[in-house]
């Protein structure tokens, strides 16, 4: 064993359940006094690996050596005893305490209590053990030494609730240093910072490295990797691909390692049949509750009969974009125009009342089945209702609806369905403690005038989904929370599809699924595409996006960095788009593709 290794990991494997292998036989090391970047896509196992060093998980197999000595790290306290400290993405601070008190929180002051010259018999020891531990008034002064040493510009007497995100992060770092950590792990520290704050953080990290600390920084931003690190370790799908010196590599090489070779997935894919625009998103801007712009002037369209993929590192506006379309997030700017495919279809009372139908007839929007234009003037209301109910009044063209002022419920009822599978699976669209049947009627329970819910049709639907999608469950009355992840997702996606949507937005529908269940979901989405539904697929796995989708929209920092033809693109090209918005944004659609062909 080399002497200058701070941490060495050999053959670390960690699996969750029997399906998900987060880390597979990972061997890597951290040298003393260096900054190592841990690079990888979402779900490549970076955080899991670091959590094993920090004592939050224990590896299923493999060995961890700290400074050449084999150790078992069972808890974060254990990790501190080996001088390892981790700064998590979500800070764990007490808002009402000052920075200094947060730093010393949880510390046992035995080093203070062990004064020389005191009696050291049993009674005295017992007395000290039960003695009240005073907070010393000068506690801030001792901490100030650390602050000065590394040049953190922070006032330790301020309360946490007064602090900005970057200051809170600084407190976390001071906490780790104060507890004697000389191996520091930072989990995506730059995700929440502004560019200036990032520069400041990097200056501090360099200083700490020069003082002999060893630092691992988890990130997926290539420019930061190049800027800060001495070496880069790349993880892909839980496996360690390589560790390279930053000085001898470049962004392109790292991207290649990160995304890997194109994998042939053999997902069935047909050319879209007669794609007609279904949804126009014009200049959409969404600002979240914290005031950050998450979606920034995004414009694109989705066609009926295609699958439009959305690629991007998570947290780059995917969720806000979809919620904006679904009406769940207010748009700061922009609009969404929906082309309801109504050409030659009968008008119903589902979205229109009698008055609206009359007005639309006046405007000449309807025709009879024989092609004659509908004139309702002078007709009795009763006769009009009868005509509508007999489906005798048809639309000439698609109905154009601006979704801007519609409530989420109205948007839903127009057939724009969002199925979002969050990390914890059960927070958006399903209720864990309710049975499959009750979950089926979440969307439809309002139908009908009765004050009571009707469980008959949801039950039929539940049984159909259980049978068709092979959901493994004891019965249709089983609470959804007891099902395994794949089955939960089948229930969710199955329900959305059963409502015969016109636009289906599926976000991460295969998140955490084993390969069998994933294929079931892909087939479901393909079947929807054949039914001329506009499918929007947000995915994490580029291989899947490239094999399943017709076009891929790449998001970066809330902006569209490109819309590309999924059939003629390389993984590396998408990878670069994910990390940087090019000056000249390419937008592919079928029309200009055809033009291109004719030009040839």
């Amino acid at each position: 064993m080399e002497k200058n290794l701070a941490i060495e990991m050999v053959g670390i494997t960690k699996a969750f359940g029997t399906k998900v292998v987060a880390n597979k036989n990972v061997s890597m090391d951290l040298r003393e006094g260096e900054i190592l970047s841990l690079l990888g896509e979402n779900g490549s196992g970076k955080t899991t690996l670091m959590n094993m060093i920090a004592g939050i998980y224990t590896p299923d197999s493999g060995k961890i050596y700290v400074r050449g000595e084999e150790v078992v790290i069972k808890s974060p306290i254990d990790a501190y005893s080996h001088h390892i400290g981790m700064i998590h993405q979500h800070f764990k601070l007490v808002d009402l305490f000052t920075a200094a008190d947060n730093v010393i929180l949880g510390e046992k002051f035995d080093n203070v209590e062990k004064n020389e010259g005191r009696a050291d018999n049993g009674a005295a020891r017992f007395g000290r053990r039960i003695a009240f531990e005073w907070l010393r008034r000068n506690r801030v002064r001792e901490l100030q030494k650390i602050v000065d040493q590394y040049g953190f510009g922070i006032d330790l007497k301020r309360k946490i609730y007064d602090m900005s995100v970057s200051e809170k992060q600084t407190v976390e770092i001071i906490k780790a240093l104060y507890r004697g950590a000389d191996i520091l792990i930072l989990d995506e520290p730059t995700a929440v910072l502004t560019p200036q704050e990032i520069d400041k953080l990097f200056a501090v990290l360099r200083k700490m490295r020069d003082e002999g600390k060893s630092i691992i920084i988890i990130t997926h931003k290539l420019n930061e990797v190049m800027a800060i690190s001495d070496r880069v370790a790349v993880l892909r799908k839980g496996e360690h691909i390589a560790t390279v010196d930053t000085a001898t590599t470049n962004e392109k090489e790292l991207t290649d390692m990160m995304v890997g070779q194109k994998m042939d997935l053999n997902i069935e894919r047909e050319m879209p049949q007669n794609p007609k625009p279904r949804l126009f998103i014009n200049d959409m801007t969404v600002v979240n509750k914290e005031g950050r712009t998450m979606v920034d002037g995004v414009s694109f369209e989705i066609n009926g009969g295609e699958i439009l993929g959305i690629a991007g590192i998570s947290g780059n506006g995917q969720k806000e974009l979809l919620e904006g379309i679904a009406g769940l997030q207010p748009m700061a700017k922009g609009e969404v125009i929906f082309h309801n495919p109504k050409e030659n279809k009968p008008v119903t009372f589902f979205h229109n009342d009698l008055k609206q139908i009359k007005a639309k007839a006046e405007a000449g929007m309807f025709h009879y089945p024989d092609g004659q234009r509908v004139v309702l003037k002078g007709m009795r209301d009763k006769d009009i209702v009868e005509l509508v109910n007999k489906e005798q009044i048809l639309y000439y063209e698609d109905e154009i609806i601006n979704l801007k002022d519609r409530t989420p419920r109205e948007i839903q009822e127009l057939g724009i369905k969002l199925s979002f599978v969050p990390e914890d699976r059960l927070n958006m669209g399903l209720v864990g403690n309710m049975s499959i049947v009750d979950n089926m009627m979440l969307r439809s329970y309002r139908k009908g005038k009765s004050i009571f819910v009707n469980r008959k049709r949801p039950k039929q639907l539940a049984d159909e989904i259980i049978q068709d999608l092979e959901v493994v469950t004891p019965s249709d009355m089983t609470p959804v929370r007891r099902l395994s992840g794949g089955n939960v997702q089948k229930v969710l996606v199955g329900r959305e599809i059963a409502s015969s949507p016109k636009v289906l937005m599926a976000a991460y529908p295969v998140r955490g699924l084993d390969i069998n269940s994933s294929y079931t979901i892909y087939n479901l989405l393909n079947a929807q595409k054949k039914k001329n539904v506009a499918v929007l697929f947000v995915g994490e796995d580029l291989d899947v996006l490239m094999a399943l989708c017709d076009r891929i929209l790449v998001l970066c920092g809330g902006k569209v960095s490109g819309i590309v033809d999924a059939r003629n693109i390389t993984k590396e090209e998408i990878g670069l788009l994910m990390t940087k918005v090019p000056d000249d944004v390419q937008k592919y659609d079928y029309d200009n593709a055809k033009e291109g062909e004719s030009n040839d």
Partner: protein, 404 residues
């Protein structure tokens, strides 16, 4: 494998039971009830030289079932407690922790008392009672809805606010009593005016019991089969999902709290006009409602918010309270003795929830977990299989991904 050389498995650890059978749960609950009564008996024999176990059980039962009148009174008390529990149940199902049932019911009492004391004799008695009912409902609803509005608007903590509202209601009541009759000790009696209200024939109990039966049935149906009840469950279990399916969370919260307040108002009206024929508010805590609003919280919670199970839990609590009061009277154990017995009962019943939800496993020399290598292998095998299958499928389809 990692050698856990420093680690030693603890002597025992807790695991959550995911699939407990209802039979097991009921066995534990019944066992706990029996045990709690036995402990009550033993404590009583220790406290009083007069009492032995036989004495305890004799007076426990004669105190509750001794005479026909006592049985009627038992069921009337049960009905009142049950109604209060039903009132707060929709809130709890919605995970809105309304512990202000006490104050909301007291406001109902106050509303009824204000009308009866001010309007009696000025118009026909039935009319007075109807106005009293309406005002009681109004008072109760307002008291329930104010914290709900705060919650909906500013996301304030409903537990604290509803708790504090109880004491404000108590003080308002005491203020009114002092204003209405400066010479009283904190209680207004309506025995002379509406002493017969609520009697059916000569039976003064049955009306309350009938109302409780009807409301229990309605509430059970409302929670289980109505669209409102369904919305309440969704909002309670997962507010975010509710948002995703287009349920207006705030509207549901306010609507449910109005319902709760209305029910509390009705209970308050019945307490003043049908049961006590008086209104008491000596201080913020010593009132007509007398802590039943807090007991109702436990009743509802112990029954897992199931209205029909609440009949049982409220019966048990009323049984112990009345029985213990009788034992205490005969054994001269003082006024606080019944509370002690109820405390022991609750202690055991609440503890059962722990044993139902968790399993205690002791350390044993077991096998090590399955080798992770096997796990990986098996998942890889399935993956390969699927790929092979889908490759076949793709070969059969001309327009497969690779050719396109």
């Amino acid at each position: 494998m990692t050698k856990q050389k420093h680690a030693k498995e603890p002597l025992m650890h807790l695991t959550r039971r995911l699939n407990f059978s209802p039979k097991y749960a009921w066995a534990i609950r019944i066992g706990a009830f029996v045990l709690s009564i036995l402990v009550c008996a033993i404590v009583t024999t220790i406290l009083s030289p007069k009492a032995n176990v036989g004495f305890f059980f004799r007076y426990l039962f004669t105190g509750t079932f001794g005479t026909t009148r006592l049985i009627w009174a038992l069921f009337r008390d049960l009905a009142i407690l049950l109604l209060l529990a039903l009132a707060v149940t929709p809130c709890f199902k919605m995970r809105y922790w309304n512990i202000g049932g006490e104050g909301q019911a007291l406001m109902g009492c106050l509303g009824a008392a204000v009308i009866v004391s001010q309007l009696y004799g000025k118009m026909a008695t039935p009319l007075v009672l109807i106005i009293a009912l309406v005002v009681a409902i109004g008072f109760g609803a307002v008291w329930a809805v104010i914290p709900a509005l705060f919650k909906a608007k500013w996301n304030t903590n409903e537990t604290l606010l509803t708790l504090m509202f109880n004491y404000i209601a108590g003080c308002l009541g005491a203020f009114f009593v002092k204003k209405a009759d400066p010479n009283t000790t904190g209680s207004l009696s309506f025995l002379d005016s509406i002493g017969n209200a609520g009697n059916i024939g000569s039976n003064q109990f049955i009306l309350i019991i009938i109302i409780a039966t009807v409301i229990t049935t309605l509430m059970a149906v409302y929670l289980k089969y109505s669209k409102h009840g369904y919305e309440i469950t969704v909002v309670g279990e997962s507010p975010n999902t509710a948002r995703y399916v287009g349920i207006h969370n705030k509207k549901v919260i306010i609507r449910t709290l109005v319902l709760c307040g209305v029910l509390c108002g009705i209970v308050g009206f019945m307490m003043v006009c049908f049961k006590d024929h008086s209104f008491k508010a000596e201080s913020a805590t010593d009132t007509t409602v007398g802590g039943l609003g807090f007991t109702a919280v436990l009743i509802s919670w112990l029954a897992h918010f199931n209205p029909l199970a609440m009949v049982l839990t409220s019966f048990l609590v009323v049984f112990i309270t009345r029985g213990a009061k009788n034992v205490g009277d005969y054994a001269r154990l003082g006024a606080n003795y019944p509370s002690m017995m109820v405390g022991i009962f609750f202690f055991f019943i609440i503890a059962t929830e722990f044993f139902i939800n968790f399993k205690i496993s002791f350390r044993q020399k077991g096998e090590l977990p399955k080798e992770p290598d096997d796990l990986i292998k098996s998942s890889e095998e399935t993956a390969d299989k699927t790929r092979a299958q889908s490759a076949d499928a793709a070969a059969a389809t001309p327009a497969s991904a690779t050719e396109a």
